[in-house]
């Protein structure tokens, strides 16, 4: 305090300004600053002039062309930014400002912003217009792949093609896909292919990476080269979520290198599948139709009578009938013959001849026997007769008569009278005597009279 009072220093304006400058520029040599851009302008010099402000204050800012060159986006009014720089005093006007070395948008990052800006710019130019896009050729046979020959992309791409057995000729056009000159190499490659190679499709591809890694594909000139290609371009950069300006400018975007390969073979595979199906249906149909026809023919031919067959049948039937007839006749005949024979047999058996024969024999026998019997009988009778003769002689009435007895017979009947009542009074009678006959008439007949009286 006392020292100030003792000797108050008097500065010239320049001195003061210099003092301020050295204070500020030494103290605030490297600072980070957050603010919103306003009053942005970029004259032909290529420097960026703007004001950075917040709700209460503002500060002028400048970014010289040397630094501005490296910015991937163009600052805009209203944009909230994080800036890095140093405070500097412009002595002639007694003004201070901040000289910016680096600027990035707050929130989304500079690349994202740059991407958005380029996208808008190219969209306005019509680079992404759908009606400018060429359709992929039918069944591409020859394809140029613009990519790094050592990267993952070409490997993934070829791997899919190998797996699918795709008959496609591939020409790998080697380029850098990352870093300085990557964009211009790719542009050259696109032009080279259009000029020198007769291919159906160009595939511009790269494997996955950071936004920075893929940055070469977010290039205005590359986008224009893609758009200008006469050969349809498929862009397949990074992973599925990565979308680059190239993807949008290309005729077709494939999410990944593998997907690009699938895109090439997809249609063909569908066609092959369709063709296979059609062929299958074609042969199946004709086969079933031929089968049906064969069955129909079979049915018809079954229904269709072959006259020869008929004749054969008739002949067979005839033969059969004939055979049966002959058999039946034979059977009948033999039956008849059997019956006849049986009849004959029976007839023979029952023949009278036999009977006659037998009878004759029988008769002979009987006669013989009869004769025998008769002769015996005769003999016996003769014997008996002899005996009887002898007895008869003994009993002969004559002999009796000779003994005095007589026989009286009624006349004319000459019936021997044994009882008186056999003859009545007046009846004639005859009496036989041992010698002679006496005839008389009955005088009296008394049946009661007897010798006793």
């Amino acid at each position: 305090m006392e020292e100030y009072n003792q000797q108050p220093d008097v500065y010239s304006v320049s001195q003061l300004t210099n003092e301020i400058r050295s204070l500020l520029e030494e103290q605030l040599d490297f600072i980070w600053l957050e603010g919103e851009i306003s009053n942005f302008r970029s004259p032909v010099s290529g420097h960026y002039y703007m004001t950075l402000k917040d709700q209460k204050s503002q500060i002028r800012a400048v970014m010289f062309r040397l630094q501005a060159r490296y910015l991937r986006f163009v600052p805009e009014n209203g944009m909230k930014v994080l800036a890095q720089g140093r405070v500097s005093v412009y002595a002639p006007r007694g003004e201070y400002q901040i000289k910016l070395d680096y600027l990035e948008p707050l929130g989304s990052g500079d690349l994202a912003l740059a991407f958005e800006q380029l996208k808008q710019k190219l969209a306005l130019k019509g680079v992404f217009d759908q009606d400018k896009k060429q359709s992929l050729p039918f069944l591409p046979q020859k394809v140029a792949v613009i990519t790094s020959p050592t990267g993952a992309a070409i490997r993934d791409f070829l791997k899919v093609l190998y797996q699918r057995f795709a008959n496609i000729e591939i020409i790998v056009v080697p380029v850098k896909v990352q870093g300085d000159n990557a964009s211009s190499e790719m542009i050259e490659a696109i032009e080279l292919v259009n000029r020198n190679l007769e291919v159906d499709v160009i595939i511009l591809t790269r494997g996955g990476g950071s936004l920075e890694d893929l940055w070469a594909f977010n290039d205005e000139k590359l986008a224009l080269a893609i758009r200008g290609s006469f050969i349809p371009v498929i862009s397949a950069v990074g992973h599925e979520i990565d979308i680059t300006i190239s993807d949008m400018a290309a005729d077709v975007r494939a999410p990944t290198p593998s997907a690009a390969a699938e895109l090439l073979v997809f249609e063909k595979e569908i066609l092959i599948k369709n063709l296979f199906q059609l062929e299958k249906r074609l042969t199946a149909t004709i086969r079933s139709q031929l089968n049906n026809q064969a069955i129909t023919v079979e049915h018809l031919s079954k229904r269709l009578k072959d006259p020869r067959k008929d004749m054969e049948d008739t002949l067979l039937r005839l033969d059969d009938l004939h055979g049966r007839l002959v058999r039946t006749m034979g059977n009948n005949m033999s039956g008849l013959r059997t019956r006849l024979e049986a009849g004959e047999q029976r007839l023979r058996v029952s023949s009278p001849y036999q009977t006659i024969l037998l009878s004759g024999q029988h008769i002979k026998l009987i006669r013989k026997r009869m004769i025998m019997v008769m002769s015996r009988l005769v003999k016996d009778k003769l014997h008996t007769l002899t005996l009887l003769e002898k007895r008869a002689i003994d009993l002969s009435p004559l002999s009796i008569l000779s003994r005095g007895y007589s026989i009286t017979r009624k006349l004319p009947e000459k019936k021997v009278i044994r009882r008186a009542r056999d003859i009545e009074k007046g009846d004639r009678f005859q009496i036989l005597l041992s010698k002679g006959i006496i005839e008389g008439r009955v005088e009296k007949s008394d049946s009661e009279a007897s010798f006793d009286k």
Binding site: R155, L158, I168, I170, I171, L192, L271, L275, L282, I286
Partner: protein, 80 residues
């Protein structure tokens, strides 16, 4: 042109198959249609198999001209 021809052939083939499948054709017509169909199918599959399976690398020679050399990836079927 190839596309046109191919598409027409496929379309014809489809029509023939459908006609055949409807089964209204006489046997002779069926056989004729079948033969035509097989011809078309052969044509189509030839078109599909036409391209050559080949991978080459474009290299710039010292005279500034470009030429193609066979391109081989040793580990193509192996690891990632």
């Amino acid at each position: 042109m190839t596309e046109k021809k191919f598409e027409l052939a496929m379309k014809d083939l489809e029509n023939i198959v459908e006609n055949l499948e409807e089964g209204n054709l006489s046997l002779e017509d069926s056989m004729a249609a079948f033969e035509e169909g097989m011809k078309l199918a052969k044509f189509c599959s030839q078109k599909l198999e036409e391209a050559e399976k080949k991978v080459s690398l474009l290299v710039r020679e010292s005279n500034g001209k470009h030429s193609k050399i066979p391109f081989e990836l040793e580990d193509i079927t192996k690891s990632e």
